[in-house]
Structure formats: structure tokens, C-alpha cells
Amino acid sequence: MSLHYIFFCFLLYFFVFVFVFVAANVLAAIGGSVYALNSGTLSTNVADDLLLVVIVSIIIGGVGSIKGCLVGAILVALTHNYMNGIFPPLSGAVSAVLLMIAILLWCPHGLNPVASIK
């Protein structure tokens, strides 16, 4: 284990890390512009409640699976929007969490489990 080897390792690690992070953020920015086109109004706290929805749809779909994210996002968006008409006290973020709990009781690793979670 020479110093050169370590240096090379960490350069590689660094660039992969940067690439993944940049790619994810670019996709998030595209999502943001689509969201802005749809909603028409903007404020600094648009993304406050969004993190919960994102995390819940990832968990529902299964961590590490893109297909699962699609299914999870559709389910979360449907409950998020239509729960208000069915039972108002459980609308919004609560409905997303309840959906997550229901699905995790059924299949604990998400709908499309890919990564082995330890």
C-alpha cells in the first residue's frame, strides 16, 4: 500500500462520488422546473414537505430500485391528492405515512426489493 495507491483510490472515489451527486441533483433540478411549470407559483418553502414524500415513495418502492420508485411515486401522489376528499383529518403528509406503514406491514423491504438492506 503505497501513498500513490491511496491517492489514486481516493481520486477515483472522489470523482465517482461527485458524479453521482451531480447527476442526482441535476435530475432533482429538472423535477423542480417541471413542478414550477405545473404549479405556476413559487416560494422559498416549496420543497419543505417534499422530502417526506420523496423518502416515502423510495421506501414504498424499495431502496435501490428505479421501477419501485415509479410505483411508489404514483401511489403516494394518488393518496396525497384524493385522501382529502375521503377523510380530511388524515390528508397530506399523514396519508403518505399511513400508506407507507400499510405497505411495509405487507412487504417489509418495499414493493420491488433490490438492495439487500442490512
Binding site: Y13, V56, L90, A93, A96, V97, M100, I117
Partner: protein, 468 residues
């Protein structure tokens, strides 16, 4: 005889460091006689000092119970603040809908405890089917959902505006007593909180030093082996989460009985959760004493850094610091308007110093302050001699003493400058000086990258050492 009783009070889990035991005794004495200390020393702002002391007590409880989860069982939960809020709201709702009555108050605390135990049982039953990061994400989702649920049930909880219940609490909690003919204090309310903190703290010490605590530590070290020995690890995890939830709910009840208001933002907020986490990390994971040290330092900093900086900003020190840029012999001469050093001492910059303190703590006290103090005591080193000593890890790497010091200092400076750049850069966005804005963005990027690089070098170096 007396020492035996004292040792059994702290469950024979001694601080194991003289500096630490002196600090703990000092904190205990000051908290125990706080109203008298304020009057004797003639401090100003007795209300704020008392509120800080109550916050310290409450956060000691919260951090110690969170330490049972994160430090002893290595379950990282992000919904600890939910239990805090459950305790506060159960006291609040009962006090709002009843006359002043001690029995109702204590029953509402018990109801808060039982509700939070049930909730933590449900959370652990759902969440513990998966481990680690997954569990953390689930608890985060549950915490966010709970906040919006409470905001939605505005009929009972008052929604986002919250509840105020000045009239419903028992009379002894609002009774004010004048001490030494000076200010008047809510003595009974303060000592209720203080003694509850002491008793629960000793209970938690007892818990982690019992056979039950040994099993929790075994789960932290190696879960597979623990289950192979024959312990039902999930059962132990669920019990630990329930106990931590109950203690957090008691802390919430105590805090609500002091500030007499229950708002979602002051109980459910992620910042409360992060404060608890930082207290545990700064104080020391895996030691209940770490909660005391961390809570005292961080709560005092959050309450008193702003006024302290105000004093500094109104003195002539910031202008003197800025003078470096006007000194004709300095290479920085002429950049006075571009680098606004004096703005760093504005009192609105206090989060900057808090952030620098966190980073410094993580770098220099990787096992927390208590862990470092114990390490010194074990090596029989006098305190603070580490500045002039070779680091054991790096000595093996044949890196000299001076380089080691520079190494540490460099990382420290890198992070300091990163934070400074970000803050001053953001602030000067509102100026007309476009050049400084662009420069600061570029510098922020470069410095941030070098900080990450430095951290990776550091990490790889340590990893290499452990392999050898």
C-alpha cells in the same frame, strides 16, 4: 460507608476522569442552588437564566434517553422529538380542559407516558423489520407525518398556533417565591423538574449498567453473535425504544409545565431532533454522562452566544480586525471593502460559530468530550496537553509532531473558512459588489472541495493504520 452509598447511587459507573467528575459536581451544585446562586451573585436576567437551566435539565433527559438508543443499542431513530411532543401535548390538553388540580397534572403525565410507549411499540414493530438506514428513514417519515397530523387536529391541539394553558396547571407550579428580598422565582416548578431529572438520570445509569444494558451493548457490538447466544435481539431493541420514549415523554411534560405553551414548532421541529443528536455526539456516545456535558455546553451556547456577540460587535474589536486591510505594510491593503471581516462579529452570525464548534468537536473529540477525557485519564495525561503531544495514530505513520499539529490546524481552518465563505458570500449577495459575490462562490466551491479531499485523506490514512 458514605462512598459506598454514593457509588451505588451512580450504579458504580464512575466518571473515570477527575476533570469530568469535577465538572459534573459543579453542574449539579449550580443547578441545585440556581435561584440562590443568581441572587447571591447578582446576575441580571433571572428569567432567562432559569429558562436556560430548565432547558438544560430537559435536554439532559432527552439526550440521555436518546443515548440509550444511539450509543448503547445503535438504533438511529429520528422520531425522538415525537415522544417529547406527546408528553407536552398530553399535559397541555388536560390542563386546557380542566381546573387547576395536581392529580390531573400527574395523571396527564402518566397518560403521556403510556401513549408514547404505545406509539414507540408500534413504530418499533413496523420499523424493526428492517435495520439501520431503512429504520432511520421510516422514523423520519413518521416524525414528519406526526407533525402534520397534530397541525390538522386543530380542534384538540390548537393547530399550528398551539395551546396556551396558563390557568389549567396546578397552583404550586405557578407560585412565585421571593428569595433574599430580590427576584421571585417559580421554586416548586423548578425543583420538580430538577428532581425528576436527577431521579430519571440515575434510573438510566442503573439501566445501562444492569444485565439488560449489557445485552444492549452486545447488540451494538455484534448483533448476530448476540442472537446466536440466545437473546431475542428484537425484543431487547423494542424495550429500549419504549424506555427511551417514556423518558422523552416525561421530559416533554416537564418542559411544557415550565413554558406553559405547546406549539408544533417548538416540539416537533427537526431542529429539536438535531439538537438532541448533536448533544449526544458532542458529549460522547455510549456514556450517559456525555448527555450532561453536551447539554450544558450546547444549550448555553444557543442561548448566550447571540448576546455575547452583541457585546463584541459593539466594542471596537471588529474595526481593529478590519484594520489589517488598511495597514500599508500588509499585502491585503486595499481590499478593505471586498473582505468584510467586521461583519463576522455581527450578532446575527452566531450560527456560524456554533457550526465551527460542531466541526471542531467532531475532529478533535471523535469519541465525544467524555470519551476524550476518559482517554486522557487512562493515559494519565494532564488535560489539554494533547496540543503538544504526538498523536498515537499518526506516530505510527512516521509523521512528525509539528506536521501533526499543522495537519489538525489545517483541517480546522479549512472548515472554518468554508463556513465563513458560505455565510459572508450569502450575506454580500445583497450588496452592489458583484465581484466579491462571484469570488466567494468560487472560493466556497474550492474550499469545500479541499475540505472533502482532506477528510478523505484523513479517513484513508486511519484505515491504512488499522490494517497494519
Amino acid at each position: 460507608m458514605i462512598s459506598d452509598i454514593l457509588e451505588s447511587l451512580i450504579s458504580r459507573d464512575k466518571p473515570r476522569s477527575s476533570l469530568l467528575s469535577v465538572t459534573l459536581i459543579f453542574v449539579l451544585c449550580v443547578l441545585a442552588f440556581l435561584p440562590f446562586v443568581i441572587e447571591l451573585c447578582g446576575f441580571h436576567g433571572s428569567e432567562i437564566i432559569m429558562k436556560t437551566a430548565v432547558q438544560i435539565c430537559v435536554f439532559i433527559l432527552l439526550a440521555a434517553s436518546y443515548d440509550i438508543l444511539i450509543g448503547y443499542t445503535s438504533v438511529i431513530s429520528l422520531c425522538h422529538a415525537v415522544f417529547f411532543a406527546v408528553g407536552a401535548y398530553s399535559v397541555g390538553i388536560f390542563a386546557k380542559n380542566s381546573d387547576p388540580n395536581s392529580a390531573v397534572f400527574f395523571i396527564s403525565i402518566l397518560i403521556g407516558i403510556s401513549i408514547s410507549v404505545v406509539i414507540s411499540m408500534l413504530i418499533s414493530l413496523i420499523g424493526l423489520r428492517v435495520k439501520h438506514l431503512f429504520f432511520t428513514m421510516i422514523t423520519f417519515a413518521i416524525a414528519s407525518g406526526a407533525k402534520s397530523f397534530v397541525a390538522k387536529l386543530s380542534k384538540y391541539t390548537g393547530g399550528l398556533d398551539g395551546l396556551t394553558f396558563d390557568d389549567g396547571l396546578p397552583l404550586f407550579l405557578s407560585e412565585k417565591i421571593t428569595i433574599f428580598g430580590g427576584h421571585s422565582y417559580r421554586i416548586y416548578a423548578y425543583y420538580l423538574i430538577f428532581f425528576v431529572t436527577i431521579v430519571l438520570f440515575m434510573c438510566m445509569l442503573r439501566l445501562v449498567n444492569s444485565p439488560f444494558g449489557m445485552v444492549l451493548k452486545a447488540i451494538r457490538e455484534n448483533e448476530f453473535r448476540t442472537s446466536a447466544i440466545g437473546f431475542n435481539t428484537n425484543k431487547y431493541r423494542i424495550i429500549a425504544i419504549c424506555i427511551a420514549g417514556a423518558v422523552a415523554s416525561i421530559a416533554g411534560s416537564m418542559y411544557a409545565s415550565w413554558i406553559r405553551i405547546a406549539i408544533p414548532n417548538s416540539y416537533f421541529n427537526l431542529s429539536i431532533m438535531l439538537t438532541i443528536l448533536i448533544i449526544v455526539v458532542v458529549g460522547g456516545k455510549g456514556t450517559i454522562y456525555g448527555a450532561v456535558v453536551g447539554a450544558v455546553i450546547i444549550i448555553i451556547m444557543e442561548n448566550y452566544l447571540n448576546p455575547a456577540l452583541e457585546v463584541v460587535f459593539q466594542s471596537d474589536f471588529p474595526e481593529k480586525a478590519q484594520m489589517i486591510f488598511s495597514d500599508p505594510f500588509s499585502i491585503l491593503n486595499g481590499y478593505r471593502e471586498i473582505v468584510p471581516i467586521r461583519r463576522l462579529f455581527n450578532q446575527h452570525r452566531w450560527p456560524l460559530y456554533v457550526g465551527v464548534f460542531y466541526i471542531a468537536c467532531v475532529y478533535f473529540f471523535s469519541m465525544g468530550i467524555v470519551g476524550k477525557l476518559r482517554e486522557w485519564a487512562l493515559a494519565k495525561m494532564p488535560a489539554f496537553s494533547w496540543l503538544f503531544m504526538k498523536n498515537k495514530i499518526l506516530v505510527k505513520n512516521n509523521i512528525s509532531k509539528i506536521f501533526n499539529m499543522i495537519y489538525k490546524l489545517a483541517f480546522f481552518l479549512v472548515f472554518v473558512s468554508a463556513a465563513c465563505q458560505i455565510i459572508t458570500g450569502l450575506f454580500s449577495m445583497f450588496d452592489d459588489n458583484g465581484l466579491w459575490w462571484i469570488l466567494s462562490v468560487i472560493l466556497t466551491y474550492l474550499v469545500g472541495c479541499s475540505g472533502i479531499l482532506g477528510g478523505m485523506i484523513d479517513h484513508l490514512g486511519r484505515w491504512r493504520m488499522t490494517e497494519e
